[in-house]
């Protein structure tokens, strides 16, 4: 008889999900599934809305990364207007996205994952959280919280509020910060930089301790996808798509984001609301790819700023080239915070930001618009079609957590095979499975925006592993 082990709910991720681990007759892990049990419906209820409203509506998909949706949606709007937005608007959008990367990565590392990494996977679960971290290392916890606040304050400076600013609009942005506001942000940069450099130092020191986790937390070959600049440099807002394999070979490069459907297809499974995108040319599920901080650092030729490039060099050296273990997502996140801080520093001094031209005016010039940008968790696609007046006809959103779906399932199976022995789940094993998922920093509220009804299986499992009840709908 096959047995099932259920982890429900998965904690310290953004959203709700459960994991089921299926054992075979010999008690060996057969497969593992990451069930996303949320349902949103954005793609459906946005139909019929004027596209100008889409950034404001889709930003509501998520409270952690509203900026990512705001920007991808505004870019899809730019495409419908068929305009090139004013330089100041593009730079301000970039600035907000960098603030978003800082705050979201800081949240993932310090608030959600640091308790595992710094307190240990076997530590008391009641204390293995941000509060436990505050008690154990108040200086680090405070610095991490302040780093996130710094990113949030950049968003608030530009958009007027930290969460859900309706600031980026089709054609540009609505307002620019004053020189005094920019100066206020600039003088807080050294503290932020010191925090991330300290975190990097601590993380690197831990890598040897966690050799087992590095080897088993989603350590497998896969493709990596993301945006890069014209010369293959790290990108977060614009650029073109590049896919790299785990050997570092470029599979496809400089693909116009609007042609994403040429390289990406989506599969649906009955056990999750989350779709499973794959690299079209390799088929399903062999076309598994990863996105996000790890992918962005794996695909780029260089980052383009001094400190971040030095850290990238060291990371590649430690990983032996392309980092194939998802444990390195944490590492990549810290390097990206550093990169973002360096770019923020450059942008704050940019004279273009003083331009009063912030918004291009135009009517509906295209009936189809695709906006792509790099969200903290990976490449985000907003794809709209509109009627002649600008009312939305169809919406397709592909979200970072979705891209990583196949890889997350593979990661859970790998961790389970290594740590789950027999019928019993030790606290450390349970938490490692969760932490494996957490390495991707999945955002399920974002990724289950799709319409349609899919069956979901709810399984009730006793402590001894016996399936007590199973409900299908």
């Amino acid at each position: 008889m096959t047995r099932q082990i259920l982890i429900d709910p998965v904690t310290r991720i953004e959203g709700h999900a459960k994991i089921s681990i299926h054992l075979d007759d010999d008690g060996e892990v057969q497969e593992a599934r990451f069930h996303v049990t949320e349902f949103r419906g954005f793609e459906r209820f946005c139909e019929g809305r004027p596209f100008w409203e889409m950034p404001g509506i889709t930003a509501r998909i998520c409270g952690i990364c509203p900026v990512s949706h705001l920007l991808a949606s505004a870019k899809a709007g730019d495409a419908l207007l068929a305009v090139t937005i004013p330089p100041a608007a593009e730079k301000l959008r970039r600035l907000m996205n960098l603030g978003q990367i800082v705050q979201s990565h800081a949240l993932s590392f310090f608030h959600l994952s640091a308790p595992d990494l710094l307190l240990g996977f076997e530590s008391d679960p009641a204390k293995r959280n941000i509060f436990g971290l505050m008690a154990a290392d108040p200086t680090l916890a405070r610095a991490g919280i302040r780093l996130r606040q710094f990113g949030q304050d950049i968003i608030a400076m530009l958009g007027g509020s930290k969460i859900h600013p309706a600031w980026a609009v089709p054609g540009g942005v609505r307002s620019a910060p004053t020189a005094a506001q920019r100066a206020e942000i600039a003088q807080r940069l050294p503290e932020a930089r010191a925090t991330v450099l300290d975190a990097l130092r601590r993380f690197k020191a831990l890598l040897d301790t966690y050799r087992d986790e590095v080897a088993t937390f989603g350590n497998f070959p896969s493709l990596f996808l993301g945006l890069v600049g014209p010369h293959g440099e790290w990108e977060h807002y614009d650029g073109r798509l590049r896919v790299v394999d785990s050997g570092g070979a470029i599979v496809v490069d400089q693909v116009e984001p609007s042609r994403y459907r040429d390289i990406i297809a989506e599969a649906v499974e009955p056990w999750s609301y989350l779709k499973l995108p794959y690299y079209r040319a390799r088929g399903y599920p062999a076309g598994m790819y990863r996105v996000g901080p790890l992918a962005r650092l794996n695909i780029c030729t260089r980052i383009g700023t001094l400190l971040a490039d030095a850290e990238l060099g060291e990371m590649r050296q430690r990983a032996g080239g392309i980092a194939t273990s998802s444990f390195y997502y944490h590492y990549a996140r810290l390097v990206e915070i550093l990169a973002a801080l360096e770019r923020i520093s450059l942008l704050l001094d940019d004279p273009d930001l003083d331009s009063p031209r912030l918004r291009a005016e135009a009517g509906v010039n295209q009936f189809e618009g695709i906006g792509v940008s790099e969200a903290p968790r990976g490449t985000l696609f907003h794809h709209y079609t509109v009627d002649a007046h600008g009312l939305i006809r169809s919406v397709n959103l592909i979200i970072a957590t979705g891209h990583n779906n196949l890889a997350m399932n593979r990661t859970i199976a790998q961790i389970a095979r290594h740590y789950v022995k027999g019928n019993r789940l030790s606290e450390g094993a349970l938490n490692r499975v969760e932490a494996g998922i957490r390495a991707y920093d999945p955002c399920l509220s974002c990724s289950t925006h799709a319409a349609g009804t899919m069956p979901i299986v709810v399984t009730l499992v006793a402590a001894d592993g016996t399936v007590l009840d199973e409900v299908r709908r």
């Binding site: 019929g48 004027p50 100008w52 409203e53 950034p55 509506i57 859900h164 309706a166 007046h389």
Partner: protein, 235 residues
């Protein structure tokens, strides 16, 4: 013109003959909530938010269309009135699809202000979730029926101030909709002069400038009264 003396909430009020209770109350700084009422156009008493109690009358009276009477005793803020007003606002929210957070009028909306004023922290009725159209066929403006409260300000301002009567109301009950011309898309309504007075008058985000995004529909609704006063050379 004869003066009329009466009380509102035990306060002695002096008003001109022919004035309404609402006008007299406003002149004396007494707040009575309104939604369909708009300075500069005729009052229709449609929204019922300005209902007041008058001693000796079992019926509640809309302050915007009830003239003052000598020695009348008016109450504007009783428990019963507060309950009715909150219920009216809740029903308005339940009747269409009002999503403040992503609305073009967020922060500049009379319905939203009223909900706050009457203390509406939730809606006790089931939402109707009607399927409503959005018409942005006009080159400058748009109408989103999801956000319309059928106050008819657009109808009155178009008829009485602009004098073209592009707007009217069609259908009955829950099916009632404001329409342009003979229910053509606004962009095909030949009578519309694109003057924008309906955009100025709308209390919610129902009528908006095309291209407006969240919270961008700020408007000066007093301009309608200003235009009327200027035309009649009353100032």
């Amino acid at each position: 013109m004869a003066a009329r003396t009466f009380t509102i909430n035990d306060q002695l009020i002096s008003a001109r003959e022919g004035e309404t209770i609402l006008q007299a109350a406003r002149e004396h700084g007494i707040f009575i909530p309104t939604l369909c009422y708009l300075d500069g156009v005729s009052a229709v008493g449609a929204c019922r938010l300005c209902l007041v109690e008058i001693e000796g009358s079992r019926m509640l009276r809309p302050a915007c269309v009830t003239p003052v009477v000598e020695e009348m005793v008016v109450r504007t803020d009783t428990e019963r009135l507060r309950e009715y007003r909150r219920m009216i606002i809740e029903l308005l929210f339940a009747e269409r699809n009002h999503i403040c957070a992503v609305c073009v009028a967020n922060g500049h909306c009379e319905l939203q202000d009223l909900a706050i004023a009457v203390g509406m922290d939730h809606v006790r009725f089931d939402y109707a979730f009607p399927r409503c159209d959005v018409d942005i066929s006009h080159p400058l403006f748009g109408i989103d029926h999801n956000r319309c409260v059928l106050c008819t300000r657009c109808v009155r301002v178009c008829d009485e101030v602009e004098g073209v009567h592009t707007w009217d109301v069609a259908g009955r009950g829950a099916d009632a909709r404001v329409i342009t011309d003979m229910r053509q898309p606004w962009g095909e309504a030949r009578t519309c002069t694109s003057c924008g007075k309906c955009v100025l008058a709308c209390p919610t985000g129902a009528i908006f400038r095309r291209g407006a995004t969240v919270g961008e529909m700020e408007r000066d609704r007093n301009k309608i009264a200003y235009i009327v006063a200027a035309r009649e050379q009353r100032w």
